[in-house]
């Protein structure tokens, strides 16, 4: 450990680096300019427009509002956009979907990774086919009607689990194969059954890859509007669905200040989670994706 650290400063004095001096010195300015232009402008537009009065926000621009109405607008959206209900609706769908998809996915992945044979290979191919194949969204609606699940949170959860199981199984199966069999065998010698082996040996080892999967699937499901529109549209409120409906319905037509206030409120939960746990989230995403 000490050797590379010791050698590190010396490397930078190697003359090879010298021609890049000017570029290296300009680089921080380029970074700041890029962040301001590419990220700053759109995010600034959201915040200032969400703080304007209706007449000022008619044609959104980057100027500061003459009077800050941010709290009034947020409060108005909170009521008219039925944020509390939609938030609960989103939570009601996202939490069970993620829990189910991770549990069922890891159970299946363990078997798919460990069993040998042709049938197993076919089952694995079927299980991961959903990574690439798009779900048949129209006939899902028909099927849910026949099952009596149309418009219900249970139906929505089932659809999300069905869509994202493949992704979870793909990532987790690859990960299980890197776990040495001897760990399982040791537990088995002590008399542990398959359930015990899975819960107390395999699951704890899967933590890094499950973290990656949790983050990605939370992102997808929390922000999904397409499948939600078909399955629960009009019956159950979720945050993106409400944004879609109010922005479409004419209620918010040209009311950019309210649309952007809604966007702020809707993005806050994920942004807060991200701000609190950013280091873990970043290492989580990269840890599972590129091994």
């Amino acid at each position: 450990m000490t050797v590379p650290v010791f050698g590190a400063p010396a490397r930078h004095r190697v003359p090879v680096h010298r021609p890049r001096g000017l570029a290296a010195r300009l680089r921080p300015f380029a970074v700041v300019a890029l962040v301001v232009l590419v990220m700053g402008v759109p995010l600034w537009l959201v915040v200032v427009t969400a703080a304007k009065s209706q007449s000022e926000a008619l044609s959104p621009d980057l100027s500061l509002p003459s009077h800050w109405h941010l709290w009034d607008n947020l409060a108005q959206v909170w009521q008219q956009g039925e944020i509390p209900g939609a938030f609960l609706g989103s939570l009601l769908v996202v939490a069970p979907s993620v829990a189910l998809v991770l549990t069922l996915g890891s159970m299946a992945s363990w078997i798919l990774a460990r069993r040998a044979g042709r049938i197993n290979a076919v089952l694995y191919a079927l299980a991961i086919s959903g990574i690439v194949l798009p779900p048949a969204v129209i006939t899902i609606v028909l099927l849910l009607r026949q099952l009596g699940l149309a418009g219900s949170p249970a139906g929505m959860i089932g659809v999300y689990v069905g869509i994202y199981l493949s992704t979870v199984i793909f990532f987790v199966t690859g990960f299980v194969r890197t776990v040495p069999l001897s760990l399982e065998e040791a537990a088995r010698m002590d008399g542990a059954g398959p359930v015990r082996v899975f819960v107390s040996v395999i699951l704890p080892l899967l933590r890094p890859v499950l973290a990656t999967a949790t983050i990605l699937i939370c992102l997808y499901v929390w922000n999904d509007v397409f499948y939600a529109f078909f399955v629960v549209g009009g019956r159950l409120d979720t945050l993106p669905l409400n944004l879609f409906q109010v922005a479409n319905a004419g209620l918010y037509l040209n009311n950019w200040h309210l649309i952007f206030a809604y966007i702020i409120l809707m993005s806050l939960p994920l942004l807060i989670v991200f701000a609190v746990a950013q280091r873990k989230i970043i290492s989580g995403i990269t840890g599972g994706a590129v091994k």
């Binding site: 680089r27 970074v31 890029l34 590419v38 990220m39 700053g40 402008v41 537009l45 959104p60 069922l104 299946a108 363990w110 078997i111 460990r114 069993r115 040998a116 044979g117 042709r118 290979a121 076919v122 089952l123 191919a125 079927l126 990574i131 690439v132 194949l133 798009p134 779900p135 048949a136 969204v137 129209i138 006939t139 028909l142 099927l143 099952l147 089932g158 659809v159 689990v161 069905g162 199981l165 493949s166 690859g174 890197t178 088995r188 398959p194 082996v197 922000n223 509007v225 397409f226 993106p240 922005a247 950019w256 966007i263 994920l270 991200f274 995403i285 990269t286 994706a289 590129v290 091994k291």
Partner: protein
């Protein structure tokens, strides 16, 4: 067996060895790794994924709609209708062009950001966080933000006017050719933070002494980068291209919020078409398009699966 399937089902060499002593292994497997662990996952996959897909192949050939209660088979009528009125090919073309552009831009942007922000200075770390914000935001929200930015009297034209000193009034979202490109750039803008993270992780896996050694041997920084570090990024590129392609093929939110499919339906990707025809009550037509999307992705997917499997075998 068709050649595509062969790659899916071929057992890897390490797994072929135990299969020779079939019976004892099987009994052992059933005790230590019981099949019922698969049951719940496959039950859900069957009901919510495979069954609707099967239904797709049936209802695309019927006259199912909201206007009448009975459903009758009509053969290939839906296909010939969509073919004859040109929607099928135009929606297909638009979707493929959109997906290819998104894959291109998202990787260019993500790669550029990763190279720019590679060093672990505090400024770069803060900048990386900023580029991750759109990844967390709803795609619908991103669409609305850019709709506001790109209006003829919107902020982008204001900025350009201030820069050039003349009044700029470009209708960014009014071109039947370029609006699709803009939508792809915005899609890439939303996801480039994720690609950047993957590329950063890929760049970190290349040991520093390898590039140092190349420089000692007289390679310029430029050469060292392109001929040593870049090839080692292959897994990251595979992952990013595949996810970008598939994500944009199933895209909906950004384009719907940005243009709603316009102008003159020039940005109407397949999912927007499905959404629109479903809203009109033409369920069979929407199903037909859904089937077309399925077949197209399935056709393009086999190479992707093969690459993913190959990568897995290397690791």
């Amino acid at each position: 067996m068709p050649p595509g399937q062969e790659t899916l089902t071929r057992p890897s060499t390490e797994r072929r060895a135990p299969a020779r002593r079939r019976t004892p292994v099987k009994i052992g497997q059933n005790r230590t790794h019981p099949m019922w662990f698969l049951a719940p996952a496959f039950a859900i996959l069957f009901v919510f994924f495979f069954l609707p897909t099967l239904f797709n192949f049936i209802y695309a050939f019927t006259d199912w709609s909201s206007f009448k209660s009975d459903i009758r088979p009509v053969g290939f009528d839906n296909f010939s209708y969509l073919l004859s009125d040109g929607t099928l090919f135009s929606a297909l073309r638009i979707t493929v062009v959109y997906a290819a552009l998104v894959a291109l831009f998202q990787n260019l942007f993500g790669f550029g950001l990763a190279v720019l922000l590679e060093k672990d200075t505090w400024l770069n770390r803060v900048a990386r966080l900023f580029f991750l914000i759109p990844v967390l935001m709803s795609a619908l929200a991103v669409g609305y933000i850019f709709q506001a930015l790109l209006k003829p009297d919107g902020s982008l034209n204001d900025l350009l006017s201030a820069l050039t000193g003349q009044q700029v009034n470009i209708a960014w979202l009014g071109s039947t050719t370029w609006t699709l490109v803009l939508a792809a750039i915005i899609h890439a803008w939303k996801w480039m933070g994720l690609s950047m993270l993957i590329y950063l992780a890929g760049l970190k896996t290349v040991p520093e002494d390898v590039t140092e050694a190349a420089k000692m041997d007289g390679a310029s920084s430029w050469q060292a980068f392109w001929s040593i570090r870049f090839p080692l990024l292959a897994p990251a590129i595979t992952f990013n291209v595949a996810t970008a392609l598939l994500g944009s093929m199933n895209g909906f939110d950004i384009v719907q919020a940005l243009t709603g499919g316009g102008p003159a339906r020039s940005t109407e990707i397949l999912n927007i078409f499905i959404y629109r025809t479903f809203g009109q009550g033409l369920f069979a037509q929407a199903t037909t398009m859904s089937l077309v999307l399925f077949l197209m992705v399935a056709l393009l997917a086999f190479p992707v699966i093969r690459i993913l499997r190959k990568r897995e075998q290397i690791l």
